[in-house]
Amino acid sequence: MRKRTLRMIAAMLPLSTILSLAQTLNISGTVTEAGGEPIIGGTIILQGTSSGTITGIDGSYSITAPANGTLEFRYIGLETKVEPIQGRTTINVELSNSSIAVDEVVVIGYGTQSRRTVTASVASVSGESFKDLPAPNAESALQGRASGVSIITPNGAVGQAPVVRVRGVSSISSGTEPLYVVDGIPVQSGNAAYIGNTNALADINPADILSIDVLKDAAAAALYGSRAANGVVLITTRKGQQDKAQVSYSGWIGITTPSKQIPVLDAARYVELKNLSVSNRYGTDERSLTSGYVSPYGNKAYNLWQLDNGSYVDTDWGKYIYQTGLQHTHTVSVSGGTQKVQYYLSANYTDQTGMIVNDHYDRLGGTANITAQASNWLKLGFNLNATTSTTSNTDLGRKGNQYAIANFSRIAMILPPNIPAYDPGSGKPYGDDLGGIGYGPNTTRAAYYNPAAIVDYGDGQKSDIARIISSYFAEITPLQGLTLKTQLGIDFQQVSDQEFNNPFHGGGFSQHGTVYKASGTTTAITWSNTAQYSFSLGNHNFDLLAGQELYEKKLDRWGAYRTDILDDKFRVYQADFNNTYPYTGANNLQESSLFSYLGRLNYDYQARYMLSVNFRRDGFSALSKNHRWGNFGGASAAWRISSEDFFKPLSNFFTDLKIRSSWGIVGNTNISPYAAKSYYQSGFYGGDGAYYLSSIADAENLKWESSTKFDAGFAAQIKNNIMVEFDFYHNQAADLILDVPVAYSKGIPGNKITTNAGAMTNTGIELSISAQPVKTKDFSWNTSFNITTQKNEVTKLAEGVSEIIGANDYNITLPGYSIGQLYIRTSAGIDPATGRRILIGKDGTEAVVIFEKSATYYRRDDPDVPYAQADITQSIAGGTLPTYYGGWTNDFKYKNFDLSILFQYSGGNYIYNGSIATMSDMRFWNNSVDFYETYWKNPGDNAKFAKPIYGDNASNGSVFPISDWVEKGDYLRLKSVTLGYTFKTRNWAKSGITGLRLYATAQNLFCLTGYTGLDPESLVSSNDQAALQGGVDKNALPQAKVFTFGANITF
C-alpha cells in the first residue's frame, strides 16, 4: 500500500519530455531507511523530468541521468532527499523518518498545488490515514481528522449519509452540505432514494480514495463559485504508476452492536405501574379501559399473561429489533504501467448487516482508470467508477420519521412487555385481527406493530442503485507550460426503490398488502474546458487558468403502488395485485443547468511571496430570469517569513513559517430546479381533469445566496518536528434563500415562500498541531490534535419575519442567536406536594398539569381554574450547533507493531432529550426503569416525573417539549483504536508477497458525556432542514459499536 501511494505521486508529476543535452551517466546505489534496512520500492526521480526508477528488494537502483542533474529519492512516510549528481556514479542514500510533509501535493480546484505555495485554507486527509477504518463511506473517514469539518453520524443504521458541515452552517433553507468533487467531476451526494434512504457518496469505495481535500475558505473554493458556500470536498482516487503490475488486497470483517439501549420495564413492573396510573385516574384498577372489552387474563386494566408452564410472558422487544450484525469488505486492485500508459483497476465488495434487524447494505463495484501519453503533446485518459448497491431496512424511523409506527427505536422502547412477540399457542407472530399487536392481557389495544411480525412477513424498503461516475479527458500541451484540457464527466445514477407491506399485520393490513415502487435516473453531466499556463520569469512563478464549464442535471422518475395482494408469497411490485395506482409524489421530471466561466492566477516569488486570485461567473436555470447570473471570486496571499533574512535568528526554531490571508465571495445553489416559478399542477377530481395552484414563488427576485468569507492564519514548522496550522475565519452569508413560513390561514401551498432574505455569520478559529514527540529506531509516537471553534449568528431574516419556528415546533431561528435554538416550554419540575408537573405561563403564572380533568392545564394556586395551553409559551433554551469540535490522533509504532487511537470531541451545544418524554408517557406505552424509580410517589418527594395518571401524555413532555429534558451535548468519544502488525516482507520474495499487514480495529468503544440519552450524536433530523430543527433526539436510534479485523496484502 505504501509503495503504491508513493508511485502515484510520482505519476502525477507533469509529464513533459525534455531533451537531455548534457553528458549522461549510469548511476547506481542503495537506498536505506536511516539506521535501518534497505527500502524496497523507493522512487528515484530525475528532477525536472518524468524519468525515474524504483529500488529493488535489496534497496538498490540504477538510473541514467545527466552529470549535472539532480536526483530525488522518495519513499512514503520518509523525508524526501535531493542529491545533485555532480558527476558521481554511486550515490547511496539514507532516508529519515518524517512525520510531517510540508512538501506534499494539495489538490485544489481544477489542479494541484504544492503545499508550500498554497495560500488558501485546505484540509487534507490522506487515504492512508483511514485505510484501516471500517468506514462505510468517504465522509465518515473525515470525522475528527480535518479541522473545520464537522461530521455527524445521525445514528447507527447502515447505508445512511452523515451530516457534513464545513465551518458551520452557511445557509438556512437551501442545504448545508458541501459540494463533492471526485477527480474533477461534481457528484451527487446525500440521499438518492425516494422511498428509502441511501447515501450517494457510499458508491465510492473508501479503499480507492487516495486523498480527500476540503476547500474551506473562499479563496480555495471560489473556483466552484455558486456551489461553494458550504465548502468543497475534493476526492482524489488512486491512479496507476510506472512500474510492473502490483496487486493488492485489502479487506476487513467485523461485527456491530448497538452502543447503548435505554433500560425499560419488565412485565411485572409494567403491569404494576400501569395499574397504579389507572387507579390514580379512576380510583380503581379493576376496570376495562375499552368499552365492551373484557380481558381473558384478569379483571384489572393491565394483567400478566400466565403461560401453561406457570411462567409469565415477559418480552424484551429490543431482542426483536437489535442484533449483532456481521460486516465485511474486500478490495482487490491492480495498478501499474509504463512511462506512457498507467492504469489502475480495482474491484470491491461490501456486505453490511446492521445492528438493527433487517438493516442491510451491500455494494459491488469496480474502478478503472487509464492515462496515456499518446504523443509528446497529447495526453488522454478516462476514469470509471461503476457500482451496484442495495440498501434495505424494515425500520421506518429513518429520514427523521421518528413518529412512524414502524420506527424501530421507538417500538423497542414502548411496546408492552406483557405481550408476547409470538403467540404461545400458534407460534405465529402475535397480533390482532386489525393488523396491530392488539390487547394481549391488557384492556387497551396497542395499535402499534409487532416487529417480529413485520420482519417475518417481509415488510421493508429496498433501494437498488446502479451508479456510474465516469470522466474522459484530453490534454494538449502545444508548448512548454501551456496545457489545454477538455474533460467530460457523467454522473449517472439509477435508483429503483420499493416498499412492501404485508397483508396480515402492520401498514399493509387495511389494504390487504401494499407495494410501492419508484424508479428513476438522475444524470449529471459536466463538461469543462480549461487552459492552464505555467511559466517563470526569473524567480517569479506564474500559473494561469481560464476555463468554461457546462453542468446539466436531469431527474426522470416514475412511481406506482399496488394494493390487495393475490398470494402472500409475493413481496414485489411485479407480482399480482388487484389494484394499481399512480404514486403521485414519485412521478417527477426535473432539469436544471449551470453555465460558468472561470479563471485563476497563482503567483509566487521563490515560494516566499504568494498570491492567488480566483474568479467564476455562473448562470443558473433555477433562479429568476432577472438574477440568474452571479459573479464569485476571491483573492489570497501568503508570505513565507521564514525565508526572509531578518528571520534567520529564529530559523533554528521555526524551520518554516508562512502567514496567509484570504477573502472572497461564493454562493449556494442547493435549491429546487423550479424554485423561482409559480405553477399549477394537474390531477383528477373524480373522473374529470383538474388544475390547481401548487406553488407560489418569488419569481421576479429569487437570486443567488452569497457568502463572503475572510480567513487569516499561519502554518509553521517548528524544529522540523512540530507542525502548527492556525486559521481565523469569518463568513458572512447574505441574501440567504429562505423558505419563509407563512401563517397557515394564508393558504399558500407548502406554507412557505422561497425568497432571499436573511443573513448569518460564522466566526471561529481552527488550530491543528502535529508532532512526533518520540522517535527512536524501534519506537515512534506521532500525535495530531485539532480544534475548531464556531460561533454562528443569524443576523437577519426576511422583511417582516422575526423568527422561524422549526417544522417540528421544537426550534426557533431568530436574529442574534445561532440557527435552530431549542424552543421549549419552561417546566419548574414536579410539585412535591401534589406530584403534578409545574409549567410556567407567559406572565409567570405557575400552571399544573391535571390530565384527568378536561382542560389538562390549571392554575397551581387554584386548581379549579383552567390555564390556557396557549399561554404556556415557549422560551429559548439553548443553541443546537456545537461551538467547538475536533479530534486527536495518536499513532504509536514499536518495531512491527502499530497502534492508532483517535479521539473525537464536540461540545457547546444543547440537546432536547425527547426520548425521556417518550419513555414517561402514561398511555399503554412501556416506561423506562428511570421513570419507575423516580416518579412522584408521596407528598414531599422531589421527583423527576409526575404522578402517573393513566393516559397522561402532557406531564412529561409528549404533548410539547419541556425544559427539564434539555441537556448539554458535550462529548469525548474514543472513535477508533487500531492495533496492527506489519510483517517484514523484504525477504519473502519467493512467496510473491511484498507487503502484509494485519490489524484489529474497534470503533465507538466509549463516549464520555453528561448526556443521558442514547448518544449525543444521535439526532432526529439528518435532512437539509437539519439546522432549523437541530438538537432534537426523539426516538432516535443508538450508534453502532463496530469491531473489525482486517488485512492488507500486496503482491
Binding site: 376495562s288 375499552t290 368499552s291 386489525l434 387497551t444 389495544r445 396497542a446 395499535a447 494538449i476 387495511s510 389494504q511 474546458n529 468554461q548 457546462l550 394494493t563 390487495d564 389494484n579 395506482y581 399512480p582 421530471l589 443547468s593 453555465f595 448562470g619 443558473f620 436555470s621 433555477a622 423550479y674 416559478k677 409559480s678 405553477y679 399549477y680 399542477q681 394537474s682 390531477g683 383528477f684 377530481y685 373524480g686 373522473g687 374529470d688 383538474a690 388544475y691 390547481y692 395552484l693 397557515y744 390561514s745 394564508k746 393558504g747 399558500i748 415562500i753 425568497t755 426576511a798 422583511e799 419575519v801 415546533d809 378536561s854 389538562t856 390556557a868 395551553q869 396557549a870 402532557a954
Partner: protein, 465 residues
C-alpha cells in the same frame, strides 16, 4: 494536426457560449403556468374542478372531516387508541399541537386560498370563461363558503350561545406574498354573514338532478342546502324552511343503501365529493378506514342512538343495510370500498327534509315537522314494522324524535358532532357507563371546541382566545 484540434476545440467553446441563455431556460415539463391555465377555456373549466379537489383534500372534507365530526359526536366509540386515528378528538382533548387540528386548518385554508386566487385571476380572463363566468365565480364562492362553514363549526363557540364569539380568520383575498400574516379572528356573525354572502351568487349555478355533473359540482340546490345549515346555526327558522322549499326536483331514493353504493348517483344526492382510483385518500385519512371492519370506530350500541328503543330496529334498512348490528356486530357499513373510493355525500335530500322538520318544530309548526320526519323514517322502516308510533308526538317528545331521526339517518356522515355544537348542547358520551364523558359548553377551548392550532399562532400574532 495539433493546431487543427485546438482550433476546433475553441470553435466548439464559442458555439456553447452563444447559446448559453437557451441552455439556462428550463421550464417544468409537468406543470402549467397561470397563463396556460386561465387563457384556455378547457383548462379553465378544469381549474374549477381543481377548487373542489382542494376542499376534497384528505386532511379536510375529502377524508378526515366526517370522522372528526363523528368522533366529536356521541354515536361512535373510538377504539383506535392512537393519536393518528382521532383518539384525542374523541376524548375531547384536542390541544394546540394536535395533528388532526392543524391539518384540517391548513388544508381547508389552502382550498380557500385557491378559491380566492381563482376569483382574482378570472377577472383578468373573462374572455376565456365566456358565458360561464358567473357560474365559475359562484362555484368558487360556494367552495369557499363550504370551507368556512366547517372551520366555523369546529373552531367557534356556538352562535346560539354567543353570536359574537371569536371565530376563524376571514381570508377573502388571494394570498401570494409574505405580507398579511397577521389577521385577527372574525366574529361568528361575521363569518356566517360572509358565507351567506358567498352563497348569494348562487343564482348563477345550474340546476339539475340525478346526474354526475349536478352532484359533484355546485348547483343551486347545493348552495341552498348549505344556506339552510347556516340558518339552522343562526336559528333563523323561517329562512331555513324557505331554503328547504327551494330545493326542488329531488326525491328520497327508494333504498337508502343505494346512496352509499356505486354509482353513488340518485335523485336524493344534492352534492357529493367523488373519488376514483387516481384521487383517493390514504389510510388513516380515508373516512372508510375508520369504519371498515370497525378498525377505529365502533357504533356505540350501549348508549348511542341505536341503543334507543325504535332506533335499532333490525328491520330498519339503516340498521339492516348500513350496519352489521343484525349479525351481532357494531360496525358502520356506509363506507365499504376497501380502496376508499366511496363517494362522500355532503348534502342529500333526507337531510334537507330533517333540517326543515327541525325548523318547523322550532317555529311551533309541529304537524309539518312530523310529516317531514315520517317521510324520512318510513323510507327505511315500514310503519307496520315500527315499534314507535310517532303520530301525536308533540313538544319535547317530537323534538327528541327529530333529533334521534337525524342521528340514525345521518350516522357516520359528519353531522352529529356539528349538531350538538350548533345547538350549544352538552356532550354526553357513553353516558351511564364507566367511560362516561361529559363536556359542557363552559369548557370552551378546553374540550368543547378546538383551539386555533399552534402553527397558526406561530406566524399570526393576532390570534387571541
Amino acid at each position: 494536426m495539433n493546431k487543427m484540434f485546438l482550433y476546433s476545440l475553441f470553435l466548439l467553446s464559442i458555439t456553447i457560449f452563444s447559446s448559453c441563455e437557451d441552455f439556462l431556460e428550463k421550464e417544468p415539463p409537468l406543470y402549467f403556468t397561470e397563463n396556460e391555465v386561465f387563457s384556455d377555456p378547457n383548462r379553465l373549466e378544469a381549474a374549477v374542478n381543481g377548487l373542489y379537489l382542494g376542499i376534497k383534500s384528505q386532511y379536510a372534507l375529502g377524508g378526515k372531516v366526517f370522522v372528526i365530526v363523528d368522533n366529536i359526536g356521541d354515536d361512535f366509540i373510538n377504539v383506535a387508541n392512537n393519536g393518528y386515528e382521532l383518539t384525542f378528538t374523541y376524548d375531547m382533548k384536542v390541544t394546540l399541537d394536535r395533528q388532526e387540528s392543524y391539518e384540517l386548518w391548513r388544508y381547508t385554508y389552502l382550498a380557500i386560498n385557491r378559491c380566492n386566487t381563482f376569483l382574482k385571476n378570472i377577472e383578468a380572463n373573462r374572455e376565456a370563461a365566456g358565458a360561464n363566468y358567473d357560474r365559475y365565480v359562484a362555484e368558487a364562492k360556494f367552495v369557499r363558503a363550504l370551507g368556512y362553514y366547517y372551520l366555523h363549526q369546529i373552531y367557534t363557540m356556538p352562535y346560539v350561545i354567543n353570536p359574537n364569539a371569536k371565530s376563524v380568520v376571514l381570508r377573502l383575498d388571494a394570498e401570494g406574498s409574505l405580507e398579511n400574516n397577521n389577521l385577527a379572528r372574525s366574529s361568528s356573525t361575521e363569518v356566517l354573514d360572509q358565507i351567506l354572502q358567498d352563497l348569494s351568487a348562487s343564482d348563477a349555478l345550474p340546476t339539475g338532478v340525478g346526474t354526475e355533473e349536478f352532484i359533484v359540482r355546485a348547483t343551486q340546490a347545493a348552495a341552498e342546502a348549505l344556506r339552510q345549515r347556516i340558518y339552522l346555526v343562526k336559528g333563523e327558522w323561517d329562512n331555513a324552511i324557505a331554503s328547504g322549499s327551494k330545493i326542488t326536483g329531488y326525491t328520497l331514493a327508494d333504498d337508502i343503501v343505494s346512496i352509499f353504493r356505486a354509482p353513488y348517483i340518485t335523485s336524493e344526492h344534492i352534492f357529493s365529493l367523488p373519488f376514483d382510483a387516481t384521487n383517493r385518500p390514504g389510510g388513516q385519512y380515508a373516512t372508510g378506514y375508520y369504519y371498515i371492519g370497525g378498525k377505529s370506530n365502533h357504533i356505540d350500541v350501549v348508549a348511542g342512538i341505536v341503543s334507543i328503543p325504535g332506533y335499532g330496529n333490525p328491520k330498519d334498512a339503516r340498521i339492516a343495510g348500513l350496519t352489521n348490528i343484525n349479525d351481532g356486530g357494531k360496525f358502520l357499513a356506509k363506507y365499504t370500498n376497501s380502496t376508499y373510493i366511496d363517494w362522500l355525500p355532503i348534502f342529500r335530500y333526507a337531510e334537507v327534509l330533517l333540517n326543515s322538520a327541525e325548523a318547523h318544530f322550532n317555529k311551533g309548526e309541529e304537524a309539518q315537522a312530523l310529516a317531514l320526519l315520517k317521510q324520512v323514517r318510513t323510507r327505511s322502516l315500514a310503519p307496520a314494522d315500527d315499534e314507535l308510533n310517532l303520530d301525536g308526538l308533540t313538544g319535547n317528545a317530537l323534538k327528541t324524535a327529530i333529533i334521534n331521526e337525524r342521528r340514525l339517518e345521518l350516522l357516520g356522515e359528519g353531522v352529529r358532532g356539528l349538531d350538538i355544537l350548533r345547538r350549544g348542547e352538552t356532550f354526553y358520551k357513553q353516558p351511564g357507563t364507566d367511560y362516561q364523558l361529559i363536556v359542557e359548553p363552559e369548557k370552551g377551548i378546553n374540550g368543547y371546541i378546538w383551539p386555533i392550532p399552534q402553527f397558526e399562532r406561530s406566524n399570526n400574532k393576532l390570534i387571541e382566545d
